[in-house]
Symmetry: C2
Subunit: 128 residues, 2 copies
């Protein structure tokens, strides 16, 4: 199984494809995880979506030039091409990651707040 995994060269990475790849919240979560924890086994992100969806997201990220995939036995390890993206589009990935971190913090605060409200006041079945 010596199938070559396609990765675009750095100078062939396109802004449209990168922005499309980063416009999806699950793909941003994957990118954020890779930026924080380094190389990951694909299965590390199983909590984010179904396996089929994740496979699709990994392909989008890799073909956009955002990640590099390398096979390791039956596993696939994935890293963020942070330096390549930085040299191609200076400042872009850092700005998106900062925004994604802020977004995640806000979401966690909202989830916490909703769960506290939920505990204090059981949800009514009345839609109004």
């Amino acid at each position: 199984m010596a199938k070559t995994i396609f990765h675009p060269e750095t100078d062939q990475i396109e802004l449209t494809t990168v922005l499309e790849a980063l416009s999806d919240p699950i793909r941003r979560d994957i990118v954020l995880g890779l930026s924080e924890d380094g190389e990951q086994n694909c299965s590390s992100f199983n909590g984010l979506s179904s396996k089929t969806n994740l496979t699709y997201h990994y392909v989008r990220l890799r073909e956009a030039g955002l990640t590099r995939t390398r096979p390791m036995g039956t596993h696939r390890l994935i890293t963020l091409r942070a330096d390549d993206i930085e040299s191609r589009f200076p400042g872009l990935l850092a700005a998106v990651l900062a925004a994604a971190r802020a977004e995640r913090a806000q979401r966690q605060a909202e989830d916490l707040s909703a769960s506290l409200i939920g505990e204090a006041r059981p949800r009514s079945e009345d839609g109004a």
Copy 2:
């Protein structure tokens, strides 16, 4: 015709919507034009696409929070909400604009090079 034109508040501008809006090359050209020349009549961008397409792109940009539209008689004037985007997602718009400028320069160089080659060597009808 006192129809209100919807604009999201700055703190309601969402990263997903902004990145989706910026992932289109024509919308990036509009954003680039607004960043360089300030407020524009919508018709300034008529060279970029059909009127119907442009109308769609203006709505996407405005609803994403990237632009502000104000009616002036029978015209619509459009500005970039650069400060709002900067305060919401620091560094993001600047990085995308820099990348879009680089992309435009590359495209212009390629067009020039293609037209010089075209002049020197008339295009063959042979697909090979």
